[in-house]
Amino acid sequence: MKKEEFLKQLEYLLQDLPDSEKEEAISYYRDYLEEAGPEREEKAVEEFGSPERVAAIIRASASGNLEEGGAFTETGYRDERFKDPNFEVVERLDLPNEKEAHPEGGFGSAAGHGGYAGSGFKEFFKKNRPNGAAHEAYQEEPYRERYTRSRNMRTVYTHEDRKPWTSRLLKLILIGLLLIVASPILLGGVGILAGCAAGVLALVFGAVAVVLGLTVSAILAGVVLAVVGVVFTVGTPLDGLFLIGLAGIGVGCGLLGLVILVALWEVIRALLALLCKGVKKGTEYVRGKGKKTE
């Protein structure tokens, strides 16, 4: 591209700037090319890049936000905003965490076509990009581009301050998992308690059964002996009286057994009541804790 052509295009691209800004910029570049001389002129224009790129540089300095996006890299000054249109910005690999933290966030779309084209850059080129949206990921210098934009990109990324995601269902699932994981301990404790209770109950019930059996047999024996004694008194009155006496002892034992049974019943009732109370309190405690954690 020749000098005059370049300057004409530059002037066209800057026509909305204030005249003083525009003229100063254009005279700088005209000066520059004239100093370069006829033989270097074309090479210098080539190195400027496209008029669009130079216009973007001038615009940024005019609006005073040059510092925002640029950086000086091993190949010189680089700024995504000043790249030629149709050159897509390449993904930055040095910001992996932010990207992973917002997988469904507003940047997913940018990642879709391979670029963290910062919003500033995109908006900037909306104005002066000649052929609209059709710019595929043209990766001219992928590695260099990764290290260019720094501060601006970071602020763009911190814009999205999301609340930590939470849900009731998740909490319930987590509590369930916790219970399962902790079950050996929980079940162990509960098991010991249940075992003790069952042991005590079994002991009591066993005692009841023994006493009941003894009582029933004693009474039955007493009755039988009484009947046999009455029969014997007809033939041998002394034997009969002896048997009746034995029957009396048997019945007495049976009555004693009944008294013990009644006492045991009271003990069982007391124990059951205690157990019920314990279970009730236990469940209440667990529920109370659950409420607290929610």
Binding site: Y28, Y29, Y32, E47, F48, F72, E74, G76
Partner: protein, 106 residues
Amino acid sequence: MVFNTGAALLDAVVLAAVSREAEGTYGYRITQEVRKAIDISESTLYPVLRRLQKDNCLSVYDLAIDGRNRRYYKLTETGRVQLALYKGEWSVYSNNISRIFEEAKL
């Protein structure tokens, strides 16, 4: 070059390049001087020069040469102070870095 040049360092290099000419110097020559030290594109000094001008580190005046105006950039007093500051900072910084590398065991 694998090391990046920060904006402050470029400012410092530009100020140093301008300071070499007591009467000031012009865009093309500044660019060529700076390009001896760091590889920058020919188009990119314009915003830097403008910013330094806005910050009162550089003053400008136009001189008629061969029937056209040539814009000269000259260091101001503020620019001189700024350059001295950059020089001091750079000396400390580069000494520290150099020492680390000299002590490095390969």
